[in-house]
Amino acid sequence: MSHPLVMLLIPVVGAAATAVGPARWARWTAFLFTLAAFGVSVVHAAQFPEWHSGRFWPAVDEGAPLAAFGVHMQLGCDSVSLLLLLLTTFMMPLTIAGSFSAVSEREREYYAWFQLLEAGILLAFLSRDFIVFYLGYEFTLVPMYFLISIWGGQQRRTAAIKFFIFTFLGSIFTLAAALYVAARQAEATGTWNFALASMVDFASTQLTGREQFWVFLGLMAGFAIKTPIFPVHSWLPLAHDQAPTGGSVILAAVLLKLGTYGVYRIALPMAPAGGVETATFFGVLGILAIIATAMICWVQTDAKKLIAYSSVSHMGFVIMGLFAFNPVGLQGSVMYMISHGLSTGALFLCIGMIYERFHTKEMDQMSGLARHMPVWACFMVLFTLASLGLPGLNGFVGEFLCLMGTFVAEHDQPAGYPGVMGPWFAVVAAAGLILGAMYLLILLGKIVWGPLKVPGASADPHEHAHGDQGHGHLPRDLNFREIAILVPIALACLGTGLYPRLLLDVTEPSVRETLADYPARVNEFNAERGLKNPTLGGPVAAAEARP
Amino acid sequence: MSELAQPSAGIVVALVLSAVLFTTGLVGFLVRRNMILMFLCTELMLQAAALAFIAFGKMRGDTGGQVFVIFILTVAAAEAALALGLVVLLYRRRETLSAEAWQELHE
């Protein structure tokens, strides 16, 4: 229990220190603590021995579980959760640094909540037990609620309440589904056990198809809202729009990933029969998300809302990849989760920098900022391109693999992983590539390019709160701090885009674990529909059989 | 001890009285507007509960009922002390004992 607990405790201690310490030190305390958490997580990653095995580390000590009522307070991660965890700890200090000039009221609380948020996210990613995961998963709502409702925009209260209630409502179903599984397990084995491994083992083998169907839907109810999938997304644009920049960044970069991570880690392995049965449904929802939200993005006038909706569209790709049930798609989804965290987080930071200067996010009020703030424009263009999936940058790998996974997810495809979706799903979803280019280039065309138009000074002098806090007015273009925030993200974007192998290699074993049950289940399901993979497990043999 | 199988008349009287007293207390709590009398009505209900405890204890030949009544007395005393203190505080604020003067719970 060395590193995981330390990793978890650093933000908690940091939050306490930030809350107790003097207000003018709050930001640096928070920054240093989150940086320390990043450092520890990097050390953890360096020591992590299971990169290529798909196993968890540290291994569960069955002899002396720190357990009560079947809840195991044991922490550990596998390669996928470690990657998401690294994403979290990487984005956190940058986000906090990005809030230095944006937040001037109640600083101690702000930074303390931020670190508690980090602790909650880390707990969810580090958990190996459903209840612990759920604790972390739900706990994140609390800091986020306060971040939105205290430091948010005009409609912050509505946004915060909607965010809280909406996501909370969904996760109640998730909890209920998991409790059902645990109860059935307790019925069968006589002991309560919430360890994910045992729940997955039990549920995927012992529950009937009908039960798995409902368990899957129940689990997805929470995860779908968190992700969010198309018709249950409406909390997101409002929350993003109203949240302070830092909140938006973490919301987009990490919190949404909790939903897809839940699908990946819990829903898919726990109820494979349910997953297979609902794959078409979620595939259609994914397509709807990609296309409909992209079209909605197209008519947005608020830059931040546009990016918020684009998140929904992008998460559609992740959903498609997850429900492809083959390594290509799942690898793509994991890649996409990480790259979306980087590029969308960075876009929110960029828009936040604009907002700090002009106090508006309306695209009609500004234009041609490339001339006014060229450095900012460079970053904005870079991250927009990353977001629209330009090859060589991070977004492409995930997007391409997600869609390719969907494309090859057919009953008789030769990769040994039959699926239920197939080419039509992929081709329709791929229209999102065009629409994505459309709305993102419109965003660029409106605010970065065009004749120069700088929004006038803020109408409300009270909003000039950062002016009286001793760090003066921001320069016209980005200052050193802001550049220093964006450069690491840009490098990460380039790095993941040009050498994704690093990530692809390590996620592959974990992906195969998640998919362990699927080929057989999918084949069964397809057989019921009259479709069968003639050569499951042996496409090579089929090729050899040819003269 | 077979006579325990049938409740004696005294027990029945106590039980019916308890039911009626409790109902009366409840009705009183709902209809009285004077905060002090509302508390008095809760005492009435506690009284009824005590009666029922005694009656059932007698019926089952168990002294636990009586012991419980002692606790009821304790709670009633504590409640009287605190609640009345609060009532006086409230009275000082509004110069009235009417419960309707206090509607802050209204959304």
Partner: protein
């Protein structure tokens, strides 16, 4: 000297995937690509433009206002050209293909065997086709960058660095595209050149039209890219690999027939990509708009190199185009029709660069037609010659524009030839025009001839051949319409507005303003521009040599390079070079027709635009006044209303649907469903609100009611049995 029928048979045989078709390729076995780690230095071809791009960024950050970015870029591109030349010289045209692995990219597997891994690395596939393309891409890239170093000097500062950053990125992406050893890396290059094109078209980003054109180019290309992506997925499903080497091997033995979509769809998907990038129908409207970019960009990206990527893709993937019998036919017809349609539009344009842009579309159509009718050599050769003469034409147009303050309207320029300092520009432009008009025995004539011959000699393509001849006549006409209007005739010119074109967007642009406020003096090009023009002109002249050799039936290096490429060998076509048409040597027949078309076009242009310039207007007026023919000039001047049709068919419905969806999302999903559900508790609360008036007893009443209900339920549920007994 085989009969055309035999060739046709081999095409059809290959198309149907018949083993017999492959059997006939015994004389040209598919040479397996071998890894060549010793050639790792070729990686510098990618690294040099990348480095110059980084250098440009650094120079912009240092706020350098001199020509260092140009120097860095020209050096890097020249270095890349030198490396490619060295590679070519060291290998010769007939060497077996090699693969140079640089680093792993999208590469992962989930078990052994085919279909259990996905490999798309950053590695280079070097065969003769690659080298042919890279030679003219890097060579022209270097020259045009040199040209731009002078052309763009008014932008010195961040804009200058940005321009050369774009050029470097373009070369990097183009090198990836051409040298990729797998389709995904090709896709990277494919989108990368799109990005460079986006950045450079939108170079004058304060002009809304430039921004719109850049956006349009990127999005229309994305439509094509979608086709390419689907093609890649289909290839992987069917063959389990996206690497050329392995793919060609597997094609020979046939792939898996698994997967819901037939593999015969592959060529059509790839075709869509090629049409998008190479501006063919129906995705051609972005290219004329792309002329909003600086002229060197138009020359390099939108004439010489990037737009030929589609031709490269089809030439490279030729074996796959045999998977469906109609694939190549479709390519031929699309190419032919695009050539004709854009030539008609080009005839009626007044902006010099637009005329040349439509002529580019038209010439690209020729190339596709060449591929479609079965002469990869002809197509590649046309790409090669076209790269030179079209770059030359754009650069001369740019020089004119540079000199006359952005004036591009051919009605407002005349006799530039006689303006001092514009001699070289005018005469090199004449060379370009002659070459484009396929003047007899020019390089353009040879390459066009090869394509026409192939088309004419196949019965099913003869109509297409005649159409192309008509197109050739139109081409000659509109080309010389430009030259006779602009360079010949009496000297008269109107300087362009500063806002138009390339000038005066930066602060120091205002310095020019006073210079040509009243007495306008044209700025003749200086050393770098003239030198580059002469060099490219020389290249264009020399580009005719292989044509002469081909005409004489000799082997020439372009032909060798094309035939030696794995792709063409695997496709099993193009071994028959001397077909027969009309029972005669088709070269002779077609030459006669071709020369007639070319000279006829030039003659009409000479008459209408030099000798009697009023006549053109009279003809136009006559056409307009006649109700029957009125539509013709109007439609041609309005580009056959393609933009409007697309707007009405796609953009407008999408726009309306988007607004509806937005409304639906806000008011139905969020408003009715979410907030409605959210309001249910409130509404229920309203129902019982009398109970919750804030009075203590109100709550007490409710609580009592609840308690009583529970009690009653308990009494009935658990005590019921006892009571009944």
């Amino acid at each position: 000297m085989t009969l055309p029928s035999l060739m046709l048979a081999s095409v059809l045989a290959a198309a149907s995937g018949d083993a017999a078709g492959h059997g006939s390729l015994a004389d040209a076995p598919i040479v397996a690509a071998t890894a060549a780690p010793e050639l790792a230095w070729v990686g510098w071809v990618l690294a040099l433009p990348a480095l110059s791009a980084v250098a440009c960024v650094l120079l912009a950050m240092l706020r350098v206002r001199n020509k260092l970015p140009a120097a860095a870029t020209v050096l890097a591109l020249g270095g890349a050209f030198a490396l490619i030349l060295k590679l070519y010289l060291s290998r010769g045209p007939n060497a077996a293909p090699v693969i140079v692995h640089l680093w792993d990219w999208m590469n992962f597997g989930w078990g052994g065997g085919d279909w259990k891994s996905f490999q798309a690395d950053v590695s280079l596939y070097i065969d003769s086709l690659t080298l042919l393309w890279m030679l003219f891409v890097t060579g022209l890239g270097t020259l045009i960058a040199l040209f731009a170093s002078e052309y763009m000097e008014s932008e010195r500062g961040p804009g200058y660095a940005r321009f050369f950053f774009g050029v470097s990125i373009f070369l990097l992406a183009m090198a990836c595209l051409v040298m990729a050893d797998n389709l995904v890396l090709l896709y990277l290059g494919w989108e990368g050149v799109g990005l460079a094109s986006y950045l450079l078209i939108g170079f004058y980003y304060r002009k809304p039209s430039a921004v719109a054109a850049a956006k349009k180019a990127f999005i229309m290309n994305r439509v094509g890219d979608l086709g390419l992506a689907v093609g890649i997925w289909l290839i992987w499903v069917n063959y389990g690999t996206v690497e050329y080497g392995e793919l060609f091997q597997k094609l020979a033995v046939g792939g898996s027939d698994q997967g819901g979509w037939d593999r015969s769809l592959i060529p059509f998907c790839l075709m869509l990509g090629a049409f998008g990038k190479s501006a063919q129908l129906p995705l051609f409207t972005w290219l004329p708009d792309a002329m909003e970019g600086p002229t060197p960009v138009s020359a390099l990206i939108h004439a010489a190199t990037m737009v030929t990527a589609g031709v490269y893709l089809i030439a490279r993937m030729q074996p796959l185009f045999m998977l469906h019998p109609d694939a190549m036919t479709t390519v031929a017809w699309v190419g032919g029709i695009t050539a004709l349609v854009s030539a008609t539009i080009g005839m009626a344009q007044y902006d010099i660069k637009r005329v040349f842009a439509y002529s580019t579309v038209s010439q690209l159509g020729y190339m596709f037609m060449g591929l479609g009718v079965g002469t990869a050599f002809g197509a590649a050769y046309h790409v090669f010659t076209h790269a030179f003469f079209k770059a030359l034409l754009f650069l001369t147009a740019g020089a004119v524009m540079h000199g006359f303050a952005g004036q591009l309207d051919l009605r407002r320029l005349s006799g530039v030839r006689k303006v001092p300092g514009f001699g070289i520009v005018s005469w090199t432009m004449l060379v370009g025009c002659l070459w484009l008009a396929a003047f007899p025995y020019s390089a353009g004539f040879f390459s066009k001839d090869l394509i026409l011959v192939q088309a004419m000699s196949k019965p099913q393509f003869q109509i297409l051949g005649w159409l192309s001849l008509a197109t050739a006549a139109l081409t000659a006409y509109y080309t010389f319409r430009v030259w006779f209007r602009v360079c010949a005739g009496p000297v008269s010119y109107v300087p362009g507005e500063e806002a138009h074109g390339d000038h005066g967007h930066d602060d120091h642009g205002s310095q020019h303003h006073d210079d040509h406020g009243h007495a306008f003096h044209p700025h003749p090009p200086r050393l770098a521009m003239n030198g580059v023009l002469l060099l490219i002109c020389l290249g264009a002249i020399l580009a005719g040599i292989p044509g002469i050799q081909a005409l004489r039936g000799q082997h020439n290096w372009v032909q060798e390079m094309v035939y030696a490429s794995t792709a063409v060998r695997a496709a099993g076509v193009d071994h028959v070079t001397t077909p027969v048409a009309f029972g005669m040597d088709p070269h002779k027949v077609v030459s006669v027709f071709g020369i007639a078309a070319s000279l006829g076009g030039i003659a009409i242009a000479l008459w209408l635009h030099l000798l009697d310039r009023r006549m053109a207007d009279r003809i136009r007026t006559a056409l307009l006044s006649n109700g029957l023919t009125r539509w013709l000039p109007v439609a041609m001047e309005n580009k056959w209303y393609f933009d409007e049709i697309y707007h009405a068919l796609f953009r407008l419905p999408l726009w309306v649907a988007s607004h509806l969806l937005h409304f639906f999302d806000r008011h139905f999903i969020d408003g009715v469903l979410v907030n409605g559900v959210g309001r249910v508790p409130t509404v229920l609360g309203r129902l019982f609100q009398p109970l919750y008036n804030g009075a203590l007893q109100g709550y007490a009443t409710t609580m009592a009611g609840g308690v009583i209900l529970v009690l009653a339920w308990v009494a009935w549920r658990w005590l019921g049995a006892g009571g009944a007994a």
